[in-house]
Amino acid sequence: MNRFWYILCGVGLAAGIAVASAGAPAPADELLEPDAAFRISARLIDPGTIAVTYDIADGYYMYRDKFRFRTEPGTATGAQPQFPAGIVKDDPNFGRVETYRQTVSIRIPLSAPIGEGVTLVATSQGCADVGVCYLPITSRVTLKPESGGTSSAEGQPKPLSSILKR
């Protein structure tokens, strides 16, 4: 019987600690900067095709229908970008929604070979599971044939605390 009361005390204490910390979203300063939550890189598959890859941090996701691509100079994209299959769900507010997690690679056909180089201008939008959304993000990645056509964002993921004044 004595053991029962000890166990009950322990359960009560453990449950209290769990309730105190469970379910709370990440504090604002633990959220990643947008270019760290959705890290972009791009490479030339061939002179007429760009493969752009987003490495998506754990707990974050991106919307398929929010991707937009164009190039500078205005080589312009050719056929429609080729998206992989994402996670599809029926959202009560948005209807059929397709999202990506972990990583997504998208092929972008160009209407003409890149020549000396091209800058990919990519717009995307994503959210975090903790219940926040980022504004649409525009990234620029420059690709040159002599570099092997590979370019990516630099730097390690930084929390938003680095841009929050204290």
Binding site: L8, S21, G131, V132, C133
Partner: protein, 179 residues
């Protein structure tokens, strides 16, 4: 030492206190550093159009507890919390609480959205300036949703990036509105 029911009661009390501490810490844990650039008087002198294009001055809500929520029709977490805000509006409007939504969308999108989702609290529209305005109110990262609550005397009661927690807003309002 021989245990007794008093120890079990102690465990239950710890549970209750911890839960209370947890909710209270939660209410403040997500608050970003305060931006002093916009105080309540400055907010009350601001005017933003509603979805019908009519300029709405925040000054009309002077003397009330102001719940200002920044959102967008493309922001799923924003939409998920709107029933909570609508319920707050229904429950506390007569007690001096004004819920105001400021959208980063166009007026047309907000109009359609409001009619489809039966939102009756004030919805203002500022597609060009909503995010910057939210930053000046403390939303430094510019994320959505963002909710800030002011007492009539200008005390900032809440600065929340992300969805409000069910019960969190009610707890704050219950402490700050007349019984």
């Amino acid at each position: 030492m021989k245990a007794s029911p008093l120890w079990a009661l102690g465990g239950v009390l710890v549970l209750l206190v911890a839960a209370g501490i947890g909710v209270d810490r939660y209410a403040s844990r997500n608050a970003p550093p305060l931006d002093e650039s916009i105080s309540l008087p400055a907010l009350l002198s601001t005017a933003i159009p509603d979805a019908a294009g009519r300029k709405q001055s925040f000054g009309q809500w002077q003397g009330k507890v102001l719940v200002v929520n920044f959102w967008a029709t493309w922001c799923a977490p924003c939409i998920e919390e709107m029933p909570i805000l609508e319920r707050i509006h229904q429950q506390y409007a007569a007690k001096g609480v004004e819920v105001v939504g400021i959208s980063a969308d166009s007026a047309d999108k907000v109009k359609i959205f409001a009619s489809q989702h039966s939102i009756t609290y004030s919805l203002l529209v500022d597609p060009e300036g909503a995010i910057d305005f939210s930053r000046r109110l403390g939303n430094r990262p510019g994320l959505l949703p963002y909710t800030v609550v002011f007492a009539p005397d200008g005390t900032r009661l809440l600065s929340q990036i992300g969805t409000v927690v069910p019960g969190q807003l009610e707890m704050i309002l219950q402490r700050n509105v007349p019984k």
